[in-house]
């Protein structure tokens, strides 16, 4: 498995598409999550409509709130980027037929997939670190530029938040990789995954959240459980609305871990049994 992991790192490191994806993610956090909001609340505070005044809303950008901010980005754009990354890493092997080049080398199919999963895990870890670092730097810059003061969250909160982000990114990466293996097509895996993420779950979760039958189904969906985990890290400018979550944070973590295991096992089963090539 280590031999396969070493091969995977070489491929992933030299693939420009991966760097572009992660660049988009970091740019999104710095530019859209922080810079744009900072400029609006600083330069045009009167344009902010709503119950929270701009002077208070600005605190959302400060270090005291960088954990919920990065988690929010992680469960939206982060989920999408990691889903694409996971799908590309597996589906491309079928598109280029390189899966057969790999499988006629020495390792077993389980070792090949193990190496790939290890790479995806390490990538999720590094992306989590980069997202946390970018959000922390951006929040520090915001509070410094504003001349205000803001306390950093406790280490315990930061570590738990980091764990929550890592778990969510790992689940979406694994989901994308699973779809890539199931569909053997990058377009189908990415299209299907993003449609589920942004249309299926978002629509169900947003519009039919309080419909009794749908509510029971929603409790088992990864996005809903991610939201429940994120709600355990509330922003300081308003009260946490824990009652709106369909499941507890603990249940959310457990469900996400189960998804991680299920996507991994089903991918392994498919990969082990599937014929490569032929019709």
């Amino acid at each position: 498995m280590i031999a396969s992991y070493r091969a995977e790192t070489l491929k992933a490191r030299k693939r420009w598409a991966n760097w572009i994806l992660f660049g988009i993610l970091l740019a999104w956090i710095i530019l859209l999550v922080y810079l744009v909001l900072f400029l609006v609340v600083t330069l045009q505070p009167n344009s902010i409509q709503g119950p929270v005044p701009a002077s208070v809303l600005k605190r959302r950008l400060f270090p005291e709130n960088f954990v919920p901010s990065v988690l929010s980005a992680g469960s939206s754009i982060g989920a999408a980027i990691m889903l694409i990354f996971g799908a590309l890493s597996t589906a491309s092997e079928f598109g280029w037929l390189t899966v057969q080049t790999i499988l006629i080398q020495k390792p077993t199919r389980a070792a090949v997939l193990g190496g790939k999963w290890l790479l995806l895990g390490v990538a999720a870890l590094l992306v989590s670190v980069a997202m946390f670092a970018a959000a922390a730097l951006a929040s520090y810059a915001a509070v410094t530029l504003d001349g205000s003061s803001s306390a950093w969250p406790a280490w315990e909160v930061i570590l738990k938040g980091f764990g929550a982000l890592l778990l969510q990114l790992a689940v979406w990466t694994t989901f994308g990789a699973f779809l890539g293996i199931a569909f053997r097509s990058a377009a189908a895996a990415i299209g299907g995954g993003l449609t589920y993420l942004f249309v299926g779950e978002a629509l169900l979760g947003g519009l039919l959240r309080n419909t009794p039958v749908v509510k029971d189904v929603l409790r088992f969906l990864p996005g809903i459980n991610s939201d429940a985990v994120n709600a355990a890290f509330p922003v300081t400018i308003r009260d946490a609305s824990a009652s709106t979550q369909l499941v507890s944070a603990g249940r959310g973590v457990l469900t996400l871990v189960i998804y991680l295991a299920v996507f991994t096992l089903v991918s392994l089963l498919i990969f082990q049994r599937r014929d490569v090539g032929g019709s």
Binding site: A3, S4, R6, A7, L10, K11, K14, R15, W16, W96, L97, T98, Q100, T101, I102, L103, I104, Q105, K106, P107, T108, V112, R273, D275, V276, G277, G278, S279
Partner: protein, 307 residues
Amino acid sequence: MAQSLAVETHGLTKRYSTGVLAVNDLDLRVRTGEVYGFLGPNGAGKTTTLRLLSGLLHPTAGSAIVAGAAPGSPASLARMGAMVETPAFYPYLSGRDNLRVVARYAGLATSRIEPVLKQVDLTDRARHKFKTYSTGMKQRLGVAAALLKGPDLLILDEPTSGLDPQGTIEMRALIKELKQGGRTVLLSSHLLNEVELTCDRVGVIAKGKLVAEGTVGELRARSGGSALLVRAAPLDQARRLLESLLKPEQVRVDGNAFVLSVDPSQAASINRRLVSDGIDVSELRLSEQSLEDLFLQLTENPPGVTG
């Protein structure tokens, strides 16, 4: 003494989920140290067989031993190198980096890369991306990847496919070179002259079944061996006479000549009879049945294969 086998299959069968029976009860024996040509028309089941031997496909029935172990097992894969169908590599990586990826998967030292690049004459282009390679270069990189392990058994699927004449000649020379040192080469092709020029023995597959096996000479002999080629004029008069002398099915017109399926010892008497009837004989010689004829005979109406 029984000769050791690099590849041995018993009743190997593959039926795809679509219902297509691609390989049907195949018994194949490739001896250690030989270049074995696996010959058949497109769609005969050659590539499916090679995929089965490489562990890429799971057989529906039957069994195989490849390089001393079950197909697709680490023990088998460690001793074999293969290029099945098309050389498949990462388009965004250079040729050298693609071989580094392959070496890492196989757990090999990267010091093996430069010698195989040199062996397939790709050193100068090794730093360029795979997607910029010509068909011939892709084929050569595929062979390089297959050679990386220094395998005892080399499986090459249509290695000259898509190559220009010069590339084909170079690939054939490379295959002959690869045989040195006791290596076994299993080579699939639908090109008859290719196997004739490179292979020690040939197995002919049609509709998923092995229909003939042996050296090219043995296969020729089995199918009736030689014939007489006669060029005579006037053509119609010569045809009438030959058909009266021989059975009609023994006389075949090939352009402005006749191919007679008779014992060559009859050449003198046939010549004498033609001349005595006022027919000019400009050419009379032994005509070995071409491998193409033999191939068509074996694959269009294979013995023991229906449907």
